[in-house]
Amino acid sequence: MSHLLAIDLPGGWQTTLGIKTLIVMGLIPVGALVLGYTFLLKMMSHMQSRVGPMDPGGFHGWFQLIGDGIKFIQKEDIIPAGADKRVFKMAPAVVVMSTFLMFVVLPAGPNAVVAGSIHNGIGGIDVGIFYALAVSSLSVIGVLMAGWASSNKYALIGALRAAAQLIAYELPLVLAVVGVVVQAGTMNLQGIVFAQRDGEIFGWGGIGSPYILTQFVGFCLFMVAAQAELTQPPFDMPVAESELVAGYMVEYTGFRFLFFFIGEFGTAFVYAGLAATLFLGGWSIPGVEGEIANWVGPLVLFAKIMFVAFLMFWARFSYPRLREDQLQSLAWKWMIPISLINILVTGALKVAL
Amino acid sequence: MKTRPIVGRAKAGNRSSLASDEITSPGDAVDQDSVADQDSAVVTIDVAELSAEHADLLARFTGEVGADAVIESGVAGRELVVRIEPAAWVSAALACKTKLGFDYLGFVAGIDWLPTPAAGGDDAEGDTSAPVQPKDMTFGVAGSAGRFQVFARVGSTKVARYGITLKADLKESAPHIDSWFSVYPGADWHERECWEMYGFIFDGHPSLRHLYLPHEFEGFPLRKDFPLLAREVKPWPGLVNVEAMPGVDDEEGGD
């Protein structure tokens, strides 16, 4: 009977799935909280000479985020009368689910992987990065559901913009990663980390071979495309608060809005994690080997994530917003051709060297 | 009517470089010929020649519109006011815009010369807060034939410093006048406002509809016989002779 319940999924999916799910479900709000706290509140407050978020609780306004959370939870949950109620309620869950699913593939140490296991020698899912990008595209469905079910024209326009934008930037995102995949020879995120740790630059392996050096174009493309996928400025047309009020989120209040919020920052955390893993060597750091890496790894990864997230939020708080057609032409006329050339060059060099 | 003397003239050096070729230098006396010349872009006026300026402008205006159309003229403050025949309302605007260089629309508005009624009606006691206006019907600069007048000011972005105010009389029974919309598109909103506030009908306006007020609003609020309801319902706050509000102790009300 136990055999019946423990479904034998390939690729090591079955390993203590429950516990790992719990970890992930804990991690996402924590990641969102950390980013929200560090960047949304503190960094932004410093950049903008804000007084409010620096005040509550005394030291640097540490209480602000908790207060915000309490505020969200006690707000009334409003569903518009004309809304499609079931779809309306489901939409935030779909968005957050997409974020949750992305989390599981991030490796935090040689053995610290949530999904996938020792089946293939190094752990992690065989198609790791591809999986992460695939499930990230699920959030579009949630956004479209939210925009349509709200029965609000602003929400609908926001959802349409989100759909057009996310489709357009899925391509450069995937293509930017292909360079890394070609260089590492695997789609397994753990494998990519190992490839960077064990790699050499012109025969010198002192710091391994973080792909940000060899795939700098890919890194830039990835960051821009991730920014667009996250619908952050300069690509925040779907939520554009000065045009569409809040786009697809306009009718959401209280806890459901908090879901979108957690989804947004959680996804930012994951994308920062993916960028850190793909281009900065993930959990690995020169000089740390063996079992200890399982303990140092998460901290290293976290530090790298914070660095990448800092770049993301820096752009977010500095830039104005592009127009929809400018966004599309940036994607189709610049980013996709550049990423294709990047792949071509990477492939040619891979074969030649 | 006394006007403040002009302290000095705008400095030529203050102009941005974009229009530097159109500047009259500060020392130049105003040349009557160049003023009469319609091509000259900038006309500066001095206080001593103010009336001459106005006379010249009036002469040019009369020349363009026709002597029959001009009924009366006068000066309000620093501006020339001309009362014209209502039939010439649009042709005068066209002349102002195309011939006299008044390319800029200031406003279009209405006047109701009926005396201002006392706040709270004539028998209101004690409400001395509102200014007491004369009870007889008098008309302002350039006169009027009756109660209703429409007046409009056009200015110039090239001929600096002054504009011209046109007035036209409207029949009280049927206040109709042609729309300026075809000449100055900006008259659109001004005429809508004037229509809803005074009930003047601008023939040829593309859509006379309410601008400020709700579309089911009745009456013309800026006409003098339209009561200011706020003052009818509730006297001016701070007056001593006030009826006590409900719930306030009557003995202290002292009514």
Binding site: K153, L322 | P131, G186
Partner: protein, 387 residues
């Protein structure tokens, strides 16, 4: 007629009125406002969209109409100044000046030079505080949040100065017929000098952060072009028309209400007439105002601040039109007096009213995001439209 013919069909009522707005297939009628972050208040813009392209736009105003023209007929002249303070509430002080000047003109009173200087300084300070809000707000409307906060932060300094001089931050009501209420407090001039230098620095910040940003330029260049000729025919005034290359500033070209011609300054124009030009012109004018205040402080005469004024103010019979260059454009009062303590009729010519009336023409065929930048760059205050 001009080369820019106005299509009368454009004026067939799209929102006439609030009821029965039929949806065509494919088109979508979108209400921007009355509660919308881009409308600075209760302004409603009904747009018919094809996708995201505006086919037709119809502004609906009047949500804040307070009937000032009627109310002035029931007020005495000193009472009217408290009303007109609330027309353009961001630069209240500048609203008072032309009205007071018109009353002075009719009464034949002249304010002493020191009072005129203080009026000029406070008017320019109102301009700075208004424009700083614009400089930040425009960034916000284009999507950058940081400039908005910087704008609000820097705006505090001139507001503090206005407050310390007049006692009111937003509605000073400081002008009196014949002068001003009080002299400047001790130490104000030195503080003002410091602040104006700070303002010049903050203009540099906006130039770097907003104006120099390539995305901002991509969003605003070539968007919402007002041709000079058509703009004037619509009655567009102030920085909006100067951004279309019209070299016309009532401070210099209008009636000399205030001693602007005693100092050295410059009128800024831009040839493009687009949203970018409007931002650029306002930024330069903010700078110019700060420099003007520094000049004025240097030349500040001493002496009384009030002229001899009768105890009860009665304005003789007469009519006058006095207009001044407010931050938003030409603000004028046509006062008809019949010799009473209050005006018989006041026609209030506000700048935003005419500036916004060009919108149906201006918004045709552009995208929704551009509608927002055009709205922001025209820079209107609701009270100035609805008076």
């Amino acid at each position: 007629m001009t080369a820019f013919d106005v299509d009368p069909k454009l004026y067939s009522p799209l929102a006439d009125s609030h009821l029965n707005v039929e949806l065509d297939t494919g088109d979508m009628v979108l209400n921007i406002g009355p509660q919308h972050p881009a409308t600075h208040g209760t302004f409603r813009l009904v747009v018919r969209l094809d996708g995201e392209r505006v086919i037709k736009a119809d502004p609906v105003i009047g949500y804040m109409h307070r009937g000032y023209e009627k109310l002035t007929e029931y007020r005495t002249y000193p009472q009217v100044t408290t009303l007109i303070n609330r027309i353009d509430w961001l630069s209240s002080f500048a609203n008072e000046v032309p009205f007071i000047a018109a009353a002075e003109q009719l009464m034949g009173i002249e304010a002493p030079p020191r009072a005129l200087y203080i009026r000029t300084i406070l008017t320019e300070m109102a301009r700075i505080s208004t424009f700083l809000l614009f400089l930040g707000e425009m960034g916000l409307q284009v999507g950058a949040i940081t400039p908005a906060f910087l704008g609000f932060r820097d705006r505090e300094y001139p507001l503090n100065l206005i407050e310390s001089a007049t006692g009111g931050r937003f509605h000073p009501n400081f002008n009196r017929i014949g002068g001003i209420k009080d002299d400047l407090p001790w130490g104000w001039i030195a503080e003002c000098r410091n602040t104006m230098r700070k303002m010049l620095d903050s203009c540099d910040i906006f130039e770097d952060l907003v104006l120099g940003n390539p995305i901002f330029q991509a969003r605003t260049r070539g968007i919402g072009i007002i041709p000079a000729e058509l703009g004037a025919a619509y009655g567009v005034s102030g920085s909006n028309i100067r951004a279309s290359g019209v070299d016309w500033d009532l401070r210099r070209d209008g009636e000399p209400l205030l001693p602007y011609n005693e100092i050295d300054w410059k009128v800024w124009t831009h040839q493009d007439g687009d949203s970018y030009a409007r931002y650029w012109v306002r930024l330069q004018e903010t700078r110019e105002s700060a420099r003007m205040i520094l000049h004025l402080l240097d030349q500040m005469p001493s002496g009384p601040i009030m002229a001899k004024v009768p105890r009860i103010i009665k304005v003789p019979q007469g009519e006058t039109y006095v207009a001044a260059e407010n931050p938003l454009g030409e603000m004028g009062y046509y006062i008809i007096s019949k010799g009473a303590t209050g005006p018989f009729r006041v026609k209030i010519r506000t700048a935003s009213f005419s500036n916004v009336s060009i919108m149906p023409w201006l918004l045709q065929g552009i995208y929704v995001p551009d509608v927002i930048t055009v709205l922001a760059s025209l820079y209107f205050i609701l009270g100035d439209i609805d008076k």
